[in-house]
């Protein structure tokens, strides 16, 4: 089969019924999409197939033949974050990080379709995505910030303090 993954054309022979997730992870070493529930219920494996969000753990590879697949790795990297990635980082939309790639891909597909969704529309679009750390509010905040057109300047962050700089006696701490 021929499949374009994050802009790169790949030709390979594979089991046509093997889920796309395993083709990506095990054969192409694209490990951004995660195996969560492994039965299409949690959304951690979400990738874009010709721009549409798909649960790659349920999608037989043969159905991705000839398509363009975009995973989290295809959006941006640490030096050049995509706006959604920057928003998730800025608004603490990731806790353990395992659901994050799927969340961002689903949000990306939503904003392509509808650039100004309401909070309720965002909730509906991400309804099938489970964040077991339960960080949903921050995830919704991050996506809403993108909808508002916010840009993310990291200079308002306090850098990690130098522990040697301040010595503050803790109340009640043993001397």
């Amino acid at each position: 089969m021929r499949i374009t993954v994050n802009g790169k054309l790949r030709e390979l022979i594979c089991d046509p019924l093997q889920p796309l997730l395993y083709l990506l992870r095990e054969e192409l070493d694209v490990t951004g999409p995660k195996a969560g529930c492994q039965q299409g219920s949690c959304g951690t494996c979400t990738v874009l197939v010709d721009g549409e969000p798909r649960r790659s753990c349920l999608l037989p590879s043969v159905l991705a033949d000839g398509t363009e697949v975009t995973t989290i790795e295809g959006l941006g990297d640490a030096a050049r974050l995509d706006t959604l990635q920057a928003a998730f980082h800025h608004y603490y939309g990731a806790q353990c990080g395992f659901c994050t790639p799927g969340m961002i891909m689903a949000a990306h597909a939503l904003l392509e379709r509808n650039p100004s969704p309401t909070r309720s529309e965002i909730q509906t679009a991400l309804g099938g995505h489970i964040c077991r750390c339960t960080g949903y509010v921050k995830i919704l905040d991050a996506i809403e910030a993108v909808v508002r057109g916010e840009t993310f300047d990291e200079s308002d962050r306090t850098p990690h303090p130098d522990p040697a700089e301040h010595e503050v006696a803790m109340k009640g701490a043993p001397a």
């Binding site: 640490a78 990080g97 994050t100 503050v168």
Partner: protein, 462 residues
């Protein structure tokens, strides 16, 4: 203190949003790795009559099969360092005590080959009657779950029998004799599967020196290292743990799950071995939050003072002890909630059942009793016809009050917290309750039944 209140970037945030964070299953070994799968008990309780892995071992792609005979120290106990005997086999020996308990593991060229080997193993069981309702564990004719009996027998603190965690404070009989009303309640919070999005997984890569590099999703690196070292009888310098990146744990990745058997298979095959649990296995065999049975009886006065509390707790430990005695101990410390109760009688048992062993989950042992206590407080308020906020504020821990264990609280925050909850809920408190602080009791807030305990506390540092 510059960090307090500051917006600090997460040290791992960038990796998460660009998909570069390396979870255990994301690691790749240059020459590839073998894949592990487990034969798990299909029965809740049974004697193992026969296990034959010979046919499975001959299947194509199978590199090794291990059973309990291959484990240097098969039986281990999480509390061995405290002098408690070991009780849990890494691989079942002559009996199985919960459904999903591992009996044998195989390493093969692919997960499919490993699974085929598991299915080719011949297992013959003699089923026994299982026990799931811990209220029946004390019946004379109850099935015997554990070789220690149906409850954990190694407490034995000062003034305490071995069979239960006891807390005694004040004069409980006088409290009940003086009460206007006794308010009773039974609370049974159920088991919860942590259900992390990342299932249990490990990757073990042997180095040329013989050291094992163990990629682990554990929440407790050094503890897991000790568990692997103990079972495999290896010095710690033969193990290199790589971890700290956990795809959700919530307490469910404290007890070691996959590392030890992956390590054993890696030693046996001299190849890298990865074991990733399926979602089915995660639900079947990973530990859960415990179900609890909590009975509370409070001696109360008509004007809303709690004179005394009697509590009986049964903590369902599942088939083995693991950390449950520790969870129950925390439960015991917290069983008066955020309130001062001068007379206490607490008995707690860690009870065995044919459930999967239970473990920590977000407030080990404490969430269960907090649920019970807060529900009970509202019940008392309802029975007495008193405002539930006022009942809580009146009995709230203040400076000078002591815990069930007699520890004097240096900085109790109950009053301020309840006032904030009332504010957030839009409840207007009566002026004397809105003005309340955590300052030491006096006047009407220091009734005679609280006077003695004000003199008897010990400091939190002993």
């Amino acid at each position: 203190m510059k960090s307090v209140g500051a917006r600090l970037p997460r040290y791992d945030g960038l990796g998460h949003v660009v998909g570069q964070t390396m979870f255990v299953d994301d690691y790749r070994v240059p020459d590839g790795n073998l894949w592990a799968r487990a034969l798990r008990s299909p029965s809740h309780s049974a004697r193992i009559v026969r296990l034959d892995t010979r046919k499975a071992a001959e299947l194509p792609g199978v590199h090794a099969i291990v059973t309990h005979r291959d484990v240097p120290k098969n039986v281990y106990g999480h509390l061995e360092a405290l002098g408690v005997p070991a009780d849990e086999p890494l691989l079942a020996e002559d009996e199985v005590r919960y459904k999903g308990q591992p009996i044998a593991v195989v390493a093969a060229d692919s997960e499919a080959a490993a699974q085929a080997a598991v299915e080719a193993m011949e297992l013959e069981l003699e089923e026994r009657e299982p026990l799931f309702d811990i209220r029946k564990s004390f019946d004379p004719d109850a099935p015997q779950i554990h070789h220690w009996g149906n409850w954990y027998p190694y407490f034995g603190g000062p003034d305490e029998g071995p069979d239960r965690r006891k807390v005694r404070k004040g004069d409980i009989d006088k409290a009940f004799a003086d009460a206007d009303t006794i308010v009773q309640g039974v609370y049974r919070p159920g088991a919860i599967e942590h259900c992390p999005t990342e299932t249990q997984v490990s990757l073990v890569v042997p180095e040329a020196s013989g050291r094992l590099v163990i990629h682990s999703c554990t929440q407790a690196m050094y503890f897991s290292m000790g568990v692997v070292a103990a079972h495999l009888d290896l010095p710690l310098n033969k193990l290199k743990f790589v971890g700290g990146t956990v795809g959700g744990g919530f307490g469910g990745k404290v007890d070691s799950a996959a590392e030890t058997l992956s390590a054993l298979l890696a030693l046996k095959t001299e190849q890298a071995v990865k074991w990733r649990w399926t979602r089915d296995e995660e639900f079947l065999a990973s530990s859960t939050r415990a179900p609890w049975h909590i009975e509370i009886a409070d001696a109360v006065t008509s004007d809303g003072w709690i004179l005394g509390r009697k509590t009986l707790t049964l903590h369902d430990s599942g088939a083995y002890a693991r950390f449950s005695p520790y969870g129950l101990t925390k439960h015991a410390f917290h069983h008066s909630g955020a309130y001062t109760i001068p007379n206490i009688h607490f008995d707690g048992y860690v009870v065995f059942s044919n459930r999967v062993p239970t473990t920590a989950m977000r407030g080990f042992g404490v969430t269960s009793v907090s649920f019970a206590v807060e529900t009970h407080m509202t019940r008392i308020a309802t029975v007495l016809g008193i405002d539930p906020y006022e009942l809580r504020l009146k009995n709230a821990n203040r400076l000078g009050d002591t815990t069930p264990n007699g520890v004097r609280l240096p900085d109790p925050s109950t009053v301020a917290t309840i006032q904030a909850v009332a504010g957030a809920a839009g409840v207007e408190l009566a002026p004397e309750y809105a003005a309340m602080t955590s300052e030491p009791r006096s006047g009407p807030l220091l009734p005679p039944h609280l006077e003695a305990q004000q003199q008897n506390g010990s400091s939190p540092n002993g």
